[in-house]
Structures are given as C-alpha cells and as structure tokens.
Symmetry: C2
Subunit: 166 residues, 2 copies
DNA sequence: AAGCTAATTGCAATCGGATTGCAGCTACAT
DNA sequence: ATGTAGCTGCAATCCGATTGCAATTAGCTT
C-alpha cells in the first residue's frame, strides 16, 4: 500500500493509515459520516474532510467504489476481485452481498454486444428483508408478506402506453 | 390515468397532463431539469418544482423510478412491465437499455434465498462506450481500446487483505 | 351554475450532504 | 537538517433536493 502511494508521488500519513484500516476492516457500504465516526474512535483528531478525501483517493486507485443504495447518501464499497451484487432492504437499510459469475458473464456479454468497455457493475435487488416483513406482520398489518413463491416486482404488468396517452 | 388519480383523491391538472406527456414521450433517464426544459417548451408557465413533485408522484404510483447513474444527478426512468438493465457510458453519459429474463431470474432466486421481497432491480454496467473509445484513439491515446475479447473490470485481482494490512 | 374545500401550484427560502479554498503542518527525497 | 510537494483541519461554499406558504384551481355538492 505504502509502495502503491509512493509510485504515485503520494504520501503515507498517520491519518491515511488509520482511515485505510477503518475502511478495510469495517462493514462495507459505510457513509463518509459513519466511517468518520469509526475513524474518530481510533484517532479523535482526524477530520471529516480528510476521511472524505481519503475515500475519494481509495476510489481513484481502484480499491473502492461509490454506491447509491437509495437513501440519498453516498456509500463506499470495497472493490472485490470479482464483481458482487447486493440485496438491499429499503426499510432497515441492511445489505447482503452475493457473488454470481453467471450474472457477471451475462452482463459482460451484453456490454460486448454494445461495444461498451466495462468498468463497473451494479447488481442490486432492493426490497423488504425478511426481518422487516416479520416485524410488520407482527404489528397487525394485512399486507401479504410471503416472499417464497413467484411474487416479484416484475410480475405486475404496467400499461405505460395507456398511461402516457393521458 | 385520470381515473387512477381520482381513486387516490388526487386531481388531474393541465400541468400534470403536460408533465405526464413529457415524461412518457421523451427519452428515458431524464433529470428533473432536463424534463423541465422539455415541459417548458410545451407550457412555459410550469414551474420546476411542479415537475419535481409530479415525478415524485409518478414514482409513488409505481410508474417511475429514480436512477443514479453516477454523475451525481437523479434521473427518472419509466418502470417497465419486466425489469430492464442499462449500459452506461461514464464518458458521454449515453445509456442503452436491455432486457434479460435470465438475469432477472437469477436475481430473483438470490432474493428468495435471502428472504428479500423484491421491489426494484438495478442492473447496470458502467464503462466507456464504443464511440467514446474511438474518439479517444483518434486523438492519439495509447490506451488499449479493445472491447472484444475477455477484458473486463473483474479480471484484475486486487489483494484487499494485503492493502488493508497497511 | 355557483359555492365549497381539499388538492395543487409557483416562488422563495431552506436543507444538507458534497466539495473546495487556504494557511499551517508534514512526509520524505536529497 | 533542509526544501518542497503533498496533506490536513476548518470554515466557507456549492448546488441539487426539498419544503413552507399564500394564491389558485379541480371536482364534488347543492
Ligand atoms: Mn458491496
Ligand atoms: Mn431505463
Ligand atoms: Zn429490513
Ligand atoms: Zn460514451
């Protein structure tokens, strides 16, 4: 890592060392603020701005990637050797990572067909996690909470042309 | 559409009619500002805020979805009967849509495994489009611009544990 | 058709995370 | 030890997203 920076004419500082540690050893998908909290617990003197700039640096060298999970805050993810996807709960914000070489391959093929040189993959399913659905039904909600079976967002057919007509 | 609003206690207005038209008849993935421009060309009196609120409404009733393609601006996409993915050029911002029932099925399976009730799918490949790569090579850049073949972001193995260690 | 009221709209103000300018501090090559 | 290109902390700024509010309007009621 130190060498990596060196070749770029960049310097290793105690702040960066701490922030790198925090980033690579904490749960993934942290916001700048969350990571800053973590960092502060290790070295109270490190500023938010420095965390922000270091995350930017991490992304620039290819070890990190910005992620937008839908709550309006940017999150930072570690880049893995092979792309991975996410299952995101829009209720509690929990995330689960998964790998799928089949999906990656299919996406690669699509990109190739179009002549797009892939740089980053975004593979996400956003929905309501099991835990949140169980809580909801516990509070007496009448909504269908079954996940098993064929229910999915894609099933309900939406007549867009009709809707656009008026 | 009018009926749809009615059942919700909502009103159809000339502004909404215009904005609906603009949204469903323009290219997909427009920003609020872009759509506002379009709307203004149809009715100069319609305010940005109204466009924003109407897009929000469209999303709430399930006909639209927010998208973050990486340039920091929210875009609005039409929801299709079956989920679709995107090929996004991070250089020129062009997008191409594609459908893949295989990918959708694989994602559905993953979600089911985890107990996540799918609500929205995000399937994107971000990279450099053919056109942009050709322009780059034309300006005498030495970078490898081949898209065909096995090149992909997933191939370069990144030793994260090592990086995190220091 | 006129009246009534909740919904909608335009505009200005505000919000809040992202980003930047800058003066003082520091890593590290020499 | 010295010099200089990089860093850092802090405050200021940016800017798209969101909201408060008074005037206006759609659609129901009489
Ligand atoms: Mn991840
Ligand atoms: Mn689309
Ligand atoms: Zn949840
Ligand atoms: Zn392009």
């Amino acid at each position: 890592m130190r060498n990596f920076l060196k070749t770029k004419g960049l310097k290793m500082t105690s702040q960066r060392e701490t922030i790198f540690r925090a980033f690579f050893e904490s749960e993934p998908h942290m916001t700048v603020e969350e990571l800053h909290e973590r960092v502060i617990s290790m070295d109270p003197a490190i500023a938010y701005t420095t965390v922000w700039r270091t995350l930017k640096l991490i992304c620039e060298v290819g070890l990190g990637e910005k992620k937008y999970f839908g709550d309006g805050v940017v999150r930072y993810d570690r880049v893995t050797a092979t792309p991975h996807g996410h299952l995101v709960c829009q209720k509690c914000g929990s995330t689960e990572e998964f790998f799928s070489s089949e999906i990656t391959r299919l996406l690669q093929d699509r990109a190739d067909e179009s002549g797009l040189l892939p740089e980053e993959y975004r593979i996400e399913v956003v929905g309501i996690c099991l835990k949140c659905r169980q809580q909801r039904e516990a509070s007496g909600d009448v909504t269908d909470t079954s996940a098993k079976g064929k229910s999915s967002a894609g099933d309900n057919v939406i007549d867009i042309s009709g809707a656009g007509g008026m």
